[in-house]
């Protein structure tokens, strides 16, 4: 299997296997060479401002996070688990009501532990973005964690410092 086929499979699994991505209808239009382009279709349920019909900023946040993660997988040669460490987003303008929103993410640097990503969200033209993002991801984030690990209490539960305020 070529790198591209493997990356495409990961993208499909991330869109169809992730309940939130499926609920929002994410699809990957292009993936490869450390870059991913994703789409979220416009629909009334995901509007953030009922007066204007503009799609919620939070949907754009989720699309940018998801696209950035796929860009990291497109940059890696073998699959490892990843987790978002931080995500900074500038919202430059409102998306046009009724239009689908796209996100183009590029993983521009990989180190042993961390991946660095830049992304933009747009409705018509990537050069006239709705939002711009900068994100970092931890690589091999689930090291040692088995499937279902989150169903058990966290390891640092005992680290609770004194009383709850």
């Amino acid at each position: 299997m070529s790198d591209n086929e493997q990356t495409r499979m990961i993208a499909t699994a991330m869109n169809e296997g992730s309940p939130q991505a499926r609920a929002l209808g994410f699809s990957t239009l292009e993936i490869g060479e450390a870059t991913a382009i994703l789409k979220v279709p416009y629909r009334p349920e995901i509007v953030g401002d009922p007066e204007t019909g503009v799609i919620a900023g939070g949907v754009v946040t989720t699309l940018l996070d998801h696209a950035s993660g796929q860009a990291v997988h497109a940059a890696l040669t073998t699959w490892v688990s990843i987790a978002t460490l931080d995500l900074r987003i500038d919202y430059m303008r409102a998306a046009e009501p009724g239009l689908d929103v796209f996100a183009r993410a590029h993983c521009y640097k990989l180190t042993r532990s961390v991946a660095f990503v830049r992304a933009v969200a747009y409705d018509r033209d990537p050069n006239d973005p709705v939002a711009a993002a900068q994100a970092t991801f931890m690589l091999d984030s689930s090291a040692g964690k088995k499937p279902g690990a989150n169903l058990k209490p966290p390891r640092d539960a005992g680290a609770k410092t004194g009383g709850v305020d």
């Binding site: 992730s18 309940p19 401002d49 900023g57 946040t61 989720t62 931080d86 995500l87 640092d156 305020d165």
Partner: protein
């Protein structure tokens, strides 16, 4: 019902995306706690399983907007200028809570910090710092 309560309830009910995520809020005096009940459709990683990082970001942004609606009547919904989100712990399949602190509410800009947690308030799972363009109504 107090004005703040009315504004909060009508705001969350009027936003389709807040309903899509299932966000609720409780108000005790001027202290608001936003609540995101766990639901299958908010999962991002089905293996662990973990709540989608984007959903946590969206929830905290909505918490900031809700806290602003409690703080002052607005001519229109505040516009998000930018957010910076840190992910501290994986979002487990549990109810998530968030509280926002308005660091400054100016005539045009509001600075808001938000923290989200699950079982343990002192072990937050994510934080958000956001800037919002606001239009408080003249009173």
């Amino acid at each position: 019902m107090a004005d703040e309560d009315t504004r909060l309830v009508s705001m969350l009910e009027s936003i389709p995306y807040a309903r899509f995520l299932g966000i609720k809020a409780e108000l005790a005096g001027d202290e608001m706690t936003a609540v995101l009940p766990f639901a299958q459709h908010i999962v991002g990683n089905p293996m662990l399983p973990a709540i989608h990082g984007g959903v946590l970001g969206a929830f905290m942004e909505m918490t900031a907007l809700a806290q602003l609606s409690v703080a002052a009547p607005m001519k229109r919904q505040p516009r998000t200028i930018d957010v910076s989100i840190e992910y501290l712990r994986s979002g487990r399949p549990l109810t998530t809570y968030a509280r926002a602190t308005i660091k400054k509410l100016g005539r045009r800009i509001a600075n808001v910090h938000v923290e989200a947690w699950q079982e343990t308030r002192s072990a937050p799972i994510a934080t958000l710092r956001g800037l919002f363009l606001v239009a408080p109504s003249e009173e």
